[in-house]
């Protein structure tokens, strides 16, 4: 059974465990969630987001129950392994080898769908605040230079650490993703 979302009090305890500074703790939490997502995605898990949230909910619960957590990140890694092992026992989680999966085509052949996707992207990009739009476009646009090198420079110029820049980009991407997903479901404004 899924662990319930922590109460505000228990969530605050988790944040405090991550970092005494509330803002830094928020960033640590977002980073930890990203790590969990990568962990579950590396296992071709169809429900990576749910599994990541389940792990975080269990972590909050353990901390609230007074578990002696000395290294919260290592502890969380252990929990993620546990959640993954449990998920394998569930009947709906019959694991299929990656080699047996049918790969859906990525670039759709028809122009109508392509146009719709482009229209949604444009619409969602315009929905972002101007500063966010500039930031995410610059994050990807640096000629032929490797991402890592260019982003180090970008972070230095904006006076962020690479980590802080990445977290901001993740927040912007999440906004884009939610808008894009909604737009793809309902259709872009111009095509409605």
């Amino acid at each position: 059974m899924a662990t319930s979302f922590p109460t505000q009090e228990n969530f605050d305890k988790l944040l405090l465990c991550l970092n005494p500074d509330r803002e830094r703790a928020g960033e640590e939490y977002e980073l930890l969630r990203l790590k969990l997502l990568e962990y579950f995605r590396a296992r071709a898990c169809s429900y990576a987001e749910e599994q990541a949230d389940e792990t975080l909910n269990r972590l909050a619960k353990k901390i609230a129950e007074g578990e002696d957590v000395r290294d919260v990140l290592r502890f969380c890694y252990g929990l993620a392994r546990w959640v993954w092992m449990e998920s394998l026992k569930k009947p709906e989680a019959r694991r299929v080898s990656l080699d047996d999966l049918t790969v859906p085509p990525f670039v759709p052949p028809d122009s109508l769908l392509r146009k719709e996707q482009e229209a949604c992207f444009q619409h969602c990009l315009q929905e972002l605040a101007a500063g966010e739009r500039e930031m995410i476009l610059e994050y990807w646009d640096h000629g032929n230079r490797p991402h890592r090198e260019a982003r180090k420079e970008m972070a230095a110029r904006l006076q962020f650490t690479l980590l802080a820049l990445r977290i901001r980009i993740c927040r912007i991407r999440d906004k884009l993703k939610i808008c894009y997903s909604d737009c793809r479901e309902k259709g872009p404004p111009k095509l409605k």
């Binding site: 990203l34 109508l112 409605k192």
Partner: protein
Amino acid sequence: MGELSHNSALLTRYLLGDLSSDEQDRLEEQYFSDDELFIELLDAKDQLTSDYLENRLAPANRERFERHFLTQSDCHQELELDRFLQPEFRRNSLPGQSASREEAPPWWQAVFIGLRAYGPLAGAAIVALLIIGATGLWSALRPSSEKPGSVLSQSSPPVFVGPITASLALKPGRLRSEGEMPKAIVGAGTQTVELQLEAGAGKYDRYQASLQRVDEGNVEVLADSALKAETAAGKLLIVTWKVPAAKLSIGDYQVTLRGVSADNSPSYIGDYSFKVRDR
């Protein structure tokens, strides 16, 4: 920073699901504790995505990438977003995105840039064209009582008004060789052409339709992605698409219809041919 840092080949192998179980466990345990390594992993993932989208991956890695990323629905949509974020794609495909992210100058500025660039003679020509254009526009827009030919309709042949809504029931797959193509008769007063597309028995969440002008190289003239089906006789479903008549001129057309299921995957249903005539 751990021993695995800066090993982009190892990180790429991890992302492609190409590490042994032990190697994978070790790397994961390490990136949970080492933020810098994790950021390196995310950068490696972005690089891999860019390489995939710009066809720079070796065939074997390309296949691994597709198996790993395209079989997970949320990754599939993230990849769609990443594709649009690639600078190459935005430069080549998306309208209104200039490569340098500079705003295009307004039209009046463009005229003066033209004047500067091509000298006084070209400038004079542009100004003359503007004056002619403005005179023509004034002539077209001034009150009709001032128009010398305002009684033109009296001597013109009668105009075919046509129905306000022209309806057309279409079946998929009808080819020219199968006989007379369905014909929509439109006139000056026709506002809408209602296409009733027979869509089989399997219902989808929504339908996408694309209208193409066949006799102009199948150029798309209109698209709609939020159409719904209604049950007609028996289990037969009909998708009704109301096309503004202004979008249609005399010619041959084809509609391509697709059903879109809850996970947003489209399925081809059929092509429907018809022609538009004024009598």
